[in-house]
């Protein structure tokens, strides 16, 4: 008797409850996508910075070997690019000068650090 009586009871539920849950589920999915994109951006940036740091450390620690590698890459491009690189002899020459390479890498690193700080604490600084 108890079971039968209890099973006949129906519980009142707000009419639009399912629609509201569905809307919340969609919002949750959107938030997930946005946070995934943000994390991908952060990871990409962190990767760029690490590569930049590794390049600078490599150049500072092993200037001769890295220089040789870069020169061989440059030569490879020159050989393969042929006519294209021949149009920019001055640019190729500049890349081959190591101090200019350091300068370019330092600027890139500075920019990357600025971007990373902006992503991580930028909002807090702006809000303050």
């Amino acid at each position: 008797m108890l079971g039968r009586a209890l099973r006949r009871h129906s519980e009142p539920v707000p009419a639009d409850f399912t629609e509201r849950m569905l809307r919340q589920a969609r919002e949750l999915d959107e938030q997930r996508i946005v946070s995934r994109v943000i994390w991908q951006g952060r990871l990409a940036l962190a990767g760029t910075i690490l590569v930049g740091i590794a390049a600078i450390v490599g150049i500072v620690a092993l200037p001769g070997r890295i220089g040789a590698i870069l020169r061989s890459v440059g030569t490879g491009f020159t050989d393969r690019g042929g006519a294209l690189i021949d149009r920019f002899p001055q640019a190729v020459g500049a890349v081959r000068n190591e101090w200019q390479l350091y300068a370019v890498l330092a600027v890139l690193l500075g920019f990357a650090v600025y971007c990373l700080l902006d992503l991580l604490v930028g909002d807090r600084v702006k809000m303050a």
């Binding site: 008797m1 108890l2 079971g3 039968r4 009586a5 209890l6 099973r7 006949r8 009871h9 129906s10 519980e11 009142p12 539920v13 707000p14 409850f17 399912t18 509201r20 849950m21 569905l22 919340q24 589920a25 969609r26 949750l28 999915d29």
Partner: protein, 195 residues
């Protein structure tokens, strides 16, 4: 209607789509179990404004966790355990506020608390029984509803309420006893006529 369409899908197919985050499947899921979740929240004695919040939290937690649902227990048992946990959390959060309310309510209800239920003319038997169940202490009430309305096994109830099976048996035994006392005047012999 979404519900009709989804009832035609096989159980496995529905579950697979649900776990993969399909919105139509989730809509079917909410439609099917919303009454169960509201039932759980109200039987825990949450206030009406809290009931809706906890029900929403329960479904959102289920939506997030569906990918991890292993299928070891029934979907309704799994959902009950989430709703029960969220409801208890809500009760704990608002304990102090609730104590004051309960004190006031107890003062008002002091006279009628343990008296037998009176059948007023025209009142259906199930309504009388339901009102008696509502007057049981919180945990006995949840155990009785889970066992007699939702037809859950003792082991499942123990899992939902995060307690031992013997404790559930005690809740059910005491709940039945109390109901028998409350309903003896109202329904006479009928209340001893089994479950």
């Amino acid at each position: 209607m979404v519900g009709d369409k989804w009832e035609q899908h096989g159980e496995d197919n529905r579950l697979r789509l649900l776990c993969s985050g399909d919105h139509e499947a989730f809509s079917w899921f909410v439609d099917k179990y919303k009454e169960t979740v509201f039932l759980c929240c109200r039987r825990l004695g949450l206030r009406e404004d809290e009931v809706e919040d906890v029900a929403s939290e329960t479904f959102m937690a289920a939506y997030k966790g569906l990918g991890r649902y292993s299928g070891r227990s029934e979907l309704s048992t799994w959902l009950w355990s989430i709703a029960y946990r969220k409801g208890i959390d809500c009760l704990r959060r608002n304990r102090r506020e609730r104590q004051l309310e309960d004190e006031q309510e107890n003062e008002i209800a002091a006279g009628r608390e343990d008296g037998p239920t009176v059948v007023t003319e025209g009142k259906e038997t199930e309504q009388v029984v339901w009102e008696a169940v509502e007057r049981l202490p919180r945990l006995w009430r949840v155990a009785v509803v889970l066992h007699y309305r939702e037809e859950k096994a003792i082991a499942d109830i123990a899992k939902i309420m995060d307690t031992r099976e013997n404790t559930v048996k005690t809740y059910l035994f005491r709940g039945r006893q109390k109901l028998r006392e409350m309903l003896s005047g109202a329904l006479g012999e009928d209340c001893n006529a089994g479950k």
